[in-house]
Amino acid sequence: METALKESKCITTEEFLINMGPQHPSTHGVLYLELKLDGEVALGCTVHLGYLHRGMEKIAESRTLTQFIPFTDRLDYIASMNNNLAFVLAAEKLLGLEVNARAKYIRVVIAELNRIASHLLGIGCFAQDLGAFATPLFYCFRDREKIVDIFNELCGNRLTYNYMRIGGVQFDFTKEIEIKIKEFIKYMSNKVNDYEWLLSGNVIFLARTKNVGVLLKEVAINYGVTGPNLRASGVKWDLRKDEPYSGYENFQFDIPTGINGDSWDRYKVKLEEIKESLKIIEQAIGALPEGDPTVKAGRQHKLPVGEAYMRSENPRGELGFYIAGDGSFNPYRLKIRPPSFSNLSVIAELVKGCKIADVVCILGSLDIVMGEIDR
């Protein structure tokens, strides 16, 4: 009937472009999507990047490795601790440094706490994008605040922590912090059910997310999608299990995976990962070895001639750092492999034939952070 209408020329319709961003309430930073629409239906989209470009990789070439740690905070600013960790792991690999057991365990605890904080924000913003105006977001912020408070007490910062050091961490855990983390585990184990009540059982939430933005396994692998987005498509790939680092091999935990790879699975995998992270923290904080995790000397590291690549499992996927040394104090070249960049690149595939509301839903479920995409 539509073609009949078009042929009869009674009603002529035309496709139009709509600029979603760089200033838009739900593009998670300064992302600019050029959407091609036929009425409500999206026919395709072009992604324009670079509004947050700060030249991080070039900056690294004129900094020592220790000086570059604060810059990694500004990559994926929701998960600064994990960025710190990935970078110091790469640096330690290049320098051939060993870290003592306590530092490893502290790193795991901190990284998993930050993963929970990051997933909470991801879930909250996702629900906000679906139009549950601010309520789930505030619930998530309430719980994230507890983690941020712990970090604040630990290292004095609330967002950009600059906590990990090459060869250890900046500060040791005090007794109070250990108690606070244990209390948080108890608190959060109950609160996870709140999200199940508020969102997982909600008819409208289910209708909006099920079968929306289905990311097939093959497509996900071809685009280099990693993290919860890949696991939601049914690929059981997690660097914490498959290429253990920083002592992850010592802990028992499962890798939650989805089946369909739709927005619902991406949400559910994040929620399940919060529970798994709580398990890891509980084990790590329970078996915290003795020792001094702080680094006493050696802020300056002369880089050997050679290169190292280290990747670790960030909340959003694989974050990789490639460092090439040329015998000086500064890296000759530093390359960052951010997970969100690959995760965002599938959006052009996913939005075809979706409604505008679904575009927002898909973008929210991919859970991108522009800081590490533009770097």
Binding site: I18, P25, E40, Q128, L130, F133, L198, I204, K355
Partner: protein, 322 residues
């Protein structure tokens, strides 16, 4: 002379109603912000007045002082008229609002019909705003709003029709009096009608979870994206006045209107209205937004058939009992 007095009397009623409407819109804005804050672990406005009670007044002053910006490519006449179309019908609907036994501007014998007809005009305001702004987001929002409001008008009217069959009158006061023994909501047919009415009315005034026409995570601010200052405020007042009206109609048609023991009738009327207002606010701050195709499917495939069947059963029931 008599005519002159009549004009003065009517103007007095008009001024009183306008005063009530502005006060009620402002109170509702404050109340909504408070309710949302309580649901979300916040305080809400606290600074201006007792618990931020004067916040809407401060906001209104701010909006009055703001510059009136209009886009260069806007369709000027339509753009200027749209806010009036959003407010005026909402105000006119108060003519048939039964606050008390005698406290009603005009007890028209076609009161319900008038109410439904006049509140439907609000869609013109939204469409004119979307069209006149010459903005793609606004246009999309306007298209959504028209489709949505026209679709939900049908189940809404059908559910009201069920009430009319029980009350045997179109006058608002007669409907209230017909509930002197039992509130209409106790009849099973009318319980279903009440639920249908509440859902459709929520969609009718563009409130979450049916706020697809101003879905801010998709369409920025929808039809009022380009509006600022007092023109924006007029949309806001219109929206909250409509919100009050649908709650008041629900209270009148289903919950016995101003009837109730001990307390004065006006208090009963406002209590019932604000109870429904609170219910709708609770829903708004809990549920995600439905998608546009789901919204339309729900109206045509679920609500309308149920409303028709409900109407039929109500008719059979009435034939049998009489």
């Amino acid at each position: 002379m008599v005519k002159f007095l009549d004009i003065i009397f009517n103007t007095g009623i008009g001024v009183a109603l306008l005063g009530f409407i502005s006060a009620s819109a402002m109170f509702l804005i404050w109340w909504e912000r408070k309710v949302s804050a309580w649901i979300q672990n916040r305080f809400g406005p606290m600074r201006v007045g007792w618990h931020g009670l004067l916040q809407p007044i401060a906001d209104a002053v701010k909006l009055l002082l703001k510059e009136n910006i209009s886009p260069a490519s806007a369709d000027k006449l339509v753009w200027w008229l749209a806010p009036f179309f959003a407010v005026v019908p909402a105000v006119m609907a108060f003519i048939c609002m039964p606050f008390d036994k005698n406290l009603i501007a005009r007890d028209l014998n076609t009161g319900v019909l008038f109410m439904i007809a006049i509140t439907s005009i609000c869609v013109f305001g939204i469409f004119m705003a979307g069209w006149g702004s010459n903005n793609k987001y606004s246009l999309l929002s306007a298209m959504r709003a028209v489709a949505q409001i026209i679709s939900y008008e049908i189940p809404l009217t059908l559910s009201v029709l069920t009430v009319l069959m029980f009350a045997n009158s179109l006058s608002m006061q007669d409907i209230v009096r017909a509930q002197s023994k039992y509130w209409f909501i106790v009849y099973p047919n009318l319980t279903i009608a009440f639920i249908i009415y509440i859902i459709s009315a929520t969609a009718e005034v563009n409130r979450a979870p049916f706020d697809i026409s101003e879905a801010e995570s998709e369409l920025v601010a929808g039809f009022h994206t380009e509006y600022s200052g007092m023109k924006f405020a007029m949309f806001f007042i219109g929206e909250y006045t409509n919100f009050f009206i649908i709650s008041a109609i629900a209270a009148t048609l289903f919950l016995g209107g101003w009837q109730g023991p001990f307390l004065p009738p006006v208090v009963w009327f406002l209590l019932k209205t604000y109870a429904i207002v609170f219910l709708l606010m609770w829903v708004r701050w809990t549920f995600p937004r439905v998608r546009v195709d789901q919204l339309m499917a729900f109206a045509w495939k679920v609500l309308t058939p149920i409303a028709f069947v409900n109407l039929l059963i109500a008719g059979l029931f009435l034939i049998k009992t009489r």
